[in-house]
Amino acid sequence: MSTDTMALDARRHIARQIRWRPAEVIFWLATLLPFVLFPTHLVLASQIAITALFALSLDLILGYAGIVSLGHAAFFGLGAYTAGLLSKHGWGEPLSGLVLSALVAGIVGFAASLVIARFRHLALIMITLGMGLLLHEAANSASWLTGGVDGLQGVKMWQVLGQFRFDLYGYTAYSYALAVLFLSFLLVRRIVHSPFGLALRGIRENSVRMTAIGASARAHVRKVYTISAALAGVAGALLTQTTSTVSLETLGFQRSAEVLVMLVLGGAGRLYGGLVGAIIFMSARDQFSGITPLYWYFWIGTLLVAVVLFLPNGILGGLARLRWRRR
């Protein structure tokens, strides 16, 4: 096969990937259903959308570039505190708050990526975990700035677009979070289906060979890590803006771990894995903790064990395999 046809193939491959499938359209139309079917669940829906965005940002580095992270909440928290501090000091405009939060998280993400890009696998777990814990502890001791354990007080958001205030039912919160999630998704979808996205997958599979064929693995990792950090920052800022609260837990280890679990549950490296994982994990948690407030962890645990046992590639991976077999 000549290089010409190979290039053509790659282009055709990308073109095929980038086409919208009917299932995707249905998925996004279905995200509007809560407005009609569950109008009293919109606050939960908004937090699911925010978590889904956070999981999507992790998917970008874990699922596509193979960077394992146990400290991704660091960027979520940075975004959350940036939006919170802005509002506390007199700037409660949500959209510009999102942009600034993305900027702050992105800058810190870029600084971190200088280290991250030098390591792979297990070492990354330690480094990201360490960075996350350091930031958490720093925020704890800087209580003059962050409010410490009590959380940031005095967060007051302005109306979205000067029109919609964050209401008790969560109409604004969900509409806003969903819109931001969708736009971010379009961005991520564009990225992973670009030549850059293909290169990332190459790095995930074999970073040495990617370097050998002329794609600088480190530069690519730095880029994607920065983008992912900025997106996580947007998710954190959304949480601050829709709830008017910021706590230390936005930086906590549990948040990093849970988002990883959701992504694995849904299926990493599948674009929709984080979204599906967040929907299932958070709905299940809401239901289980409502039924048995004392023992719901047992059911969550059972669900996770079952998924890992029977669907090692996550729910989407399992369903894809099922479909492939049937064919």
């Binding site: 249905i26 079917l37 008790l168 929907i279």
Partner: protein, 394 residues
């Protein structure tokens, strides 16, 4: 891919649909939404509050003003203001509760307060103890305590008992700073002098250097604040090792330092430590004896100040409903709660009509051996203490 996505989404929706609707009863019950940590590291304290609530409802029945009281429990999992706020919103818009209650932890109470203020719902705080919480919603009352209430009372008492010079040692984190500030204020305002202070890391393994430093200044009393767990034993040991004699140098602290579990690990090193607390199961009164007997019978353990917060919080809800003749809106209930007074197992308590915070006695206790057991023995009290922090805000 199409099937997989659709399937996954249907799964998610199905899970959410499970609890979507509930049949409405003919005679609508009054619904109380409880937001507490039932899982995670705060679960035990959450359960003790819940035990207090259950005991109250068992004793008084599950009806007030002729209507059934229905409790809806929600697990907040720990320090999670975003979750607490969402749960409060959901309880109000989805479950249509009339009252929200619970709240072990300050950040969660602060977040839910916004919802109480916006939805105009009565909110009862059953533990969270940071002073400012009740200022966040005009429909909120607190049935537990505030940190300054205990520590400023202790500071004032210390000066009156003859201590002129005190040293302060606290763990370097939020609650430690609060305790330090309020003890210092109570003590100084009374006329005492702080001769020195030190902050040490939260999980400090060895206190001997810090205790030695305090000893060198030769204060008449040392005020200590450390979190529960392994810390009380470590500091108790250091105090004994460095030869601090409780008869000469008084050790002062907030009540948690000498909880039963802490006393067990400290052993005789704890003898003579003076603490301030608003409730202990050994409190000597007929009401408390009956309460402790019923509590231990039901749950095979002693009640603690978490339980009394739940028990009195429930009392406040029942009595406010009765006084408001069954009206359940926030205005009527908070109006009913203001100024309400009753005889609690912890002693006489009332709700300050101005701050909606609890007014109660603060008991001064000393660790002594009673029948071979280490016990906190009450030997003095500061009566009817209002939260001093909000008194100053006026």
């Amino acid at each position: 891919m199409r099937k997989s996505l659709l399937g996954a989404f249907v799964l998610g929706l199905g899970a959410a649909a499970l609890l979507a609707t509930m049949p409405a009863a003919a005679q609508e019950p009054i619904k109380v939404g409880l937001i507490l940590p039932y899982s995670g590291q705060f679960a035990d304290a959450g359960n003790q509050i819940d035990n207090g609530i259950k005991l109250y409802m068992q004793e008084k029945g599950d009806r007030a003003v002729g209507r059934k009281i229905e409790i809806i429990r929600k697990d907040v999992g720990g320090i999670a203001p975003d979750v607490a706020k969402r749960l409060a919103q959901e309880l109000i818009v989805r479950d249509k509760v009339d009252i929200i209650a619970g709240f072990l932890l300050t950040p969660n109470a602060l977040a839910a307060a916004d919802v109480s203020a916006e939805a105009k719902k009565f909110m009862v705080v059953m533990n969270a103890a940071t002073a400012i919480i009740t200022t966040k919603s005009p429909y909120m009352a607190r049935a537990s305590l505030t940190i300054p209430q205990l520590n400023e009372a202790l500071g004032g008492w210390a000066f009156k008992s003859g201590i002129k010079k005190a040293y302060i040692m606290v763990s370097d984190f939020g609650p430690g700073h609060d305790a330090e500030g309020s003890f210092q204020r109570g003590f100084k305002d009374a006329g005492g002098e702080i001769v020195g202070s030190v902050r040490f890391p939260v999980a400090n393994p060895d206190f001997s250097a810090f205790v030695q430093r305090a000893k060198d200044v030769n204060p008449e009393a040392i005020y200590v604040f450390v979190p529960g767990g392994a810390q009380p034993a470590a500091i108790g040991k250091a105090l004994a090792d460095r030869g601090i004699d409780p008869a000469k140098t008084k050790i002062l602290a907030q009540g948690e330092l000498t909880f039963d579990e802490a006393l067990k690990s400290m052993g005789d090193a704890s003898l003579g430590i003076i603490t301030a607390l608003h409730y202990d199961y050994t409190h000597d009164s007929a009401a408390n004896k009956a309460f402790v007997a019923a509590f231990t019978k039901a749950y095979s353990r002693n009640p603690d100040f978490f339980s009394i917060g739940g028990y009195d919080g429930m009392h406040l809800i029942y009595e406010s409903l009765t006084k408001a003749s069954g009206k359940t809106d926030g205005e009527s209930l908070i109006a009913a709660a203001k100024g309400m007074s009753w005889e609690s197992p912890r002693g006489p308590v009332s709700i300050d009509p101005e701050t909606r915070d609890i007014i109660q006695n603060v008991y001064i206790r000393r660790v002594e051996k009673v029948g071979g057991q280490l016990r906190n023995v009450e030997f003095d009290k500061v009566e009817k203490v209002k939260d001093p922090f909000k008194a100053r805000m006026k």
